[in-house]
């Protein structure tokens, strides 16, 4: 019954035989050991399991590992660049965008999808983009500030580069 899959995760290509019913989040956590992606609700509601599949935010509890065959996946573990925090990670640290941290990986990956489409989002746009992500600690306020921090930083970098 096992099906062979080949997936690129955080830049590295993996080949495994998996049961077709294996959820992508299970594959990431249990097979690849990438436990940064969390399972909150397991019912597609909380967004804690959000990752990027081919650049788009997806809830990995509502996708099968076999569906990711041939795709590029990015998880929270793939965000830092050689030990240097991604601007979103830095933003969440600087602006107190997390308390218990359970929702944070999903928040960061959903925000990464937003910033890839809109590098200068308004507060309203940030709140709308994070509608699928629940946080039970922060009250969202500092999460919005964290994303704004990241957007500013990314835009500054781009200015310097050009």
């Amino acid at each position: 019954m096992a099906t062979k899959i080949k997936v690129k995760v955080n830049g590295k290509t993996y080949s495994h035989e998996v049961e077709p019913r294996t959820l992508l989040v299970q594959y990431l956590r249990d097979v690849l050991g990438l436990t940064g992606t969390h399972v909150g609700c397991d019912t597609s509601n909380c967004g804690a399991c959000t990752i990027l599949v081919d650049g788009k935010a997806v809830k990995s509890c509502t996708m099968l590992a076999v569906q990711a065959h041939g795709s590029e996946v990015k998880t929270i573990e793939g965000m830092a660049d050689n030990g240097a925090l991604h601007p979103l990670q830095e933003g969440f640290r600087e602006e107190h965008g997390l308390q218990c941290g359970f929702c944070t990986p999903g928040m960061i990956m959903a925000s990464a999808d937003l910033l890839s489409r809109n590098s200068n989002p308004s507060e309203q746009e940030i709140r709308e983009a994070l509608e699928g992500n629940f946080c039970r600690c922060t009250g969202y306020h500092n999460i919005v500030k964290s994303v704004q921090h990241a957007a500013k930083k990314i835009n500054q970098k781009e200015k310097v580069a050009s």
Partner: protein
Amino acid sequence: MIPNNFQYHRAASVDDALTLMAKHGMDAKLLAGGHSLLPAMKLRLNQPDVLIDIGHLKELRYIKKEGNELVIGAGATHDDIAHSQMARETFSMLSEAADLIGDVQVRNKGTLGGSLAHADPAADWPAVMIAAHANIEVKGPQGTRTVAADDFFTGFFSTALADNEIITAIRIPEPPKGTNSSYQKFMQPASRFAIVGCAASITMNGRLCSKVSVAFTGLSDAAFRASNIEAALFEKMPTEENITAAVQKAGEGVMAMSDHFASEEYRLHLARVFAKRALMAAAK
């Protein structure tokens, strides 16, 4: 929650999917975005033995103009439609509805074809497709046929689709000049599914409505056209007074649903409120 075991086949094309469906018959189910099917399988509400994945088929994922029709591939995601300028220019209710589905992650995976085939009584697309006079193109072993959206939704999670057919495209006739549309819904706060949703489109000829299209979702077991509201506004001015009078007919003769989110009475009230909002927005 892990679904029951099943065999997985990734279809190489629509025709390959049809061959696989013919081979596995009733044991098989198509998998598109998986955002209705997988949650149901995790809860064991659905336990297919075989999944035929059409989620990667490029031939199903497009939005284009063909003659005087907007043609949306069944595999276009809600997000594709939300960001399509072509869709917005054809009917703004297409972009409005797409934007209101679930959340970003759901819109990134869920497809138009999957939503129509699933025919959830609270889904947004069925009402929009009826209001847009869309035709749904389906392919089966005997070839391709087209079903009007008006005839497609036959009841609670049921459609005119046969077990061995695939939705391939949704064809939306270009509306006449002077048409404006809107989709408005009262959403379930957690899932954002429609408790009641109304899609409305108005074509003006001078100061009068020469064509009115209104459809509801969430109100009863399947999305439907509100011909009574359409008739009440036909060749009238779309003033607030006329619209308010017309929407009083919302849900007349319909068995309104009642559940722990909203009673029958409350759903009928919402139908009047949201039909008015949609018509007022379309009248602008």
